[in-house]
């Protein structure tokens, strides 16, 4: 097949093999149930698209949450953070409009001064975009270790459909040489087009979405294209994977795209966290991957595909290594964070998420 050959040529495999040296999740303590949002906006406590979502506390933002996820990644990597050559944070909720999140995270975790630390933005795939860049930096031997983070404190307009799912959380990954990895990154492929499905203009507090664009041409087309082309180029099908994780803006979309790609429900169950934490935007597919790495066995093959509005998908094939068993206990598991749960009401939520004007 002509297209087959073509795709094989554009799948990314760095000349130096790379992998995940350490990983870490962060999910804040507070949970807002969907029934609490519908109680306020429809007068009836009917269930929303996810059971509940994770909400950052008053003193948390993308920088503080990235610091904790990064510390977990450093603990599992077992490396001196002075060896990092990049600290990259992908998010659509960087606390500053101008001033990188990466420099503060780097300082807090003890990274050296000779690093790259620019922030990344690409809606919900900003984190995997940083991950690809880290693969390039290490794969070209410009660096031995690079840290890529996907983290968000996502905000939905009060009363908007997105308010049910827009959540806080994410994950950090240290990319390094494959021979020291807990999980090898075998191949990567990205699929990007210009798509008006979701955006936020400068100085606007809440995002807008183009209703009929969010599903078929946006989420489904990009994830399906990226994942199916990558699998095809590698001569793999859904059966060759133990686990798969997809961007999860709700519970329904990832289940449907998994089915389209030939995956069975049991292959996506462990990485599908949106029902209990909501959509963590740039963190969503990455934190799902951490939950899988917490339980995967050496040799297990994992497919991860992100989706960011605007729009694009990054797909990766990852294989768990022996070292995963020795090192994953060095930090809190993703399920530890999910189990730490304090339910809040809508009033507390509006205070935590700065939706009350104080002046």
């Amino acid at each position: 097949m002509e297209e087959h050959k073509h795709v094989k040529d554009i799948v990314n495999k760095p000349s130096r093999h790379v992998g995940i040296i350490g990983y870490g999740a962060y999910i804040p303590r507070y949970r807002l149930p969907g029934t609490e949002i519908s109680r306020i906006w429809s007068g009836q406590a009917t269930p929303g698209p996810v059971k509940e979502k994770a909400v950052a506390g008053l003193d948390e933002d993308v920088i503080t949450m990235s610091i904790e996820a990064a510390r977990n990644a450093v603990a599992r990597a077992g490396i001196d953070p002075q060896l990092l050559r990049a600290v990259w944070v992908g998010s659509e909720s960087h606390p500053y409009a101008v001033k990188p999140s990466g420099t503060i995270v780097a300082e807090a975790i003890g990274a050296p001064e000779h690093i790259q630390a620019g922030d990344w933005e690409f809606a919900c795939k900003a984190g995997t975009e940083a991950f690809v860049a880290a693969m390039g930096l290490v794969g070209s031997s410009m660096a031995d270790y690079a840290l890529a983070i996907g983290m968000d404190t996502a905000q939905g307009k009060p009363g908007d459909a997105l308010e049910y799912t827009a959540a806080s959380g994410g994950a950090a990954f240290i990319i390094g040489p494959a021979e020291k990895a807990l999980a090898r990154v075998d191949a990567h492929y990205s699929f990007v087009t210009d798509m008006p499905d979701f955006w936020r203009r400068a100085h606007q507090k809440y995002p807008e979405h183009g209703q009929r664009f969010t599903g078929e041409p946006a989420y489904f087309n990009h994830i399906y294209s990226a994942a199916s082309r990558l699998m095809e180029s590698e001569g793999l099908t859904a059966e060759d994977f133990k686990y798969a994780v997809f961007h999860q803006p709700n519970e329904k979309f990832p289940r449907r795209v998994a089915k389209q790609l030939g995956f069975k429900p049991e292959q996506i169950e462990d990485g599908l966290l949106s029902p209990v934490i909501g959509n963590t935007y740039a963190g969503a597919s990455m934190v799902g991957l951490t939950a899988i790495l917490d339980i995967a066995a050496p040799g297990d093959r994992i497919l991860i595909t992100s989706y960011g509005s605007g729009a694009g998908s990054d797909a990766f094939i990852i294989t768990a290594q022996e070292a995963l068993l020795e090192r994953r206990g060095a930090a809190l598991s993703t399920q530890d964070y999910i189990a730490r749960r304090t339910e809040i009401d809508y009033a507390t939520y509006t205070r935590f998420r700065n939706k009350i004007a104080m002046k």
Partner: protein, 133 residues
Amino acid sequence: MEVPRHWRLKKQRYALVGEVCPHCEAKIFPPRDVCPECGGEAKTAYAFSGKGEVYSFTRMGNAPAGFEEQAPYTVALIKLQEGPIVTAQLTDLGNQEVQIGMPVEMVTRKLRSDDGEKGILVYGYKFRPAMAA
């Protein structure tokens, strides 16, 4: 605005970096370059583990200027595993009661915004109920 002071204090604030005395091994926080145990010069940087326990605490209903948005909150004296006692806010308490002797761990959080909505964000250590096994 106190930007220069915030910049100078960032290492100790972000990551609980103090000093260790090269003469008697005492761990020192905050850093002061002189060992409080033996009086010797102590300038070697030392990153604390962040583990400790609540030594004493008080609930702040009326917060000082700059901290109003976070009130009410709990301030505690934390006895660090390595010895020194530090004053810090407790966070992520949820519905948990604070008790003397409660194991806590350091997290880096937003302390306040210097000069309202347009100033710099000040980050630093707080302590939460210990999660780690």
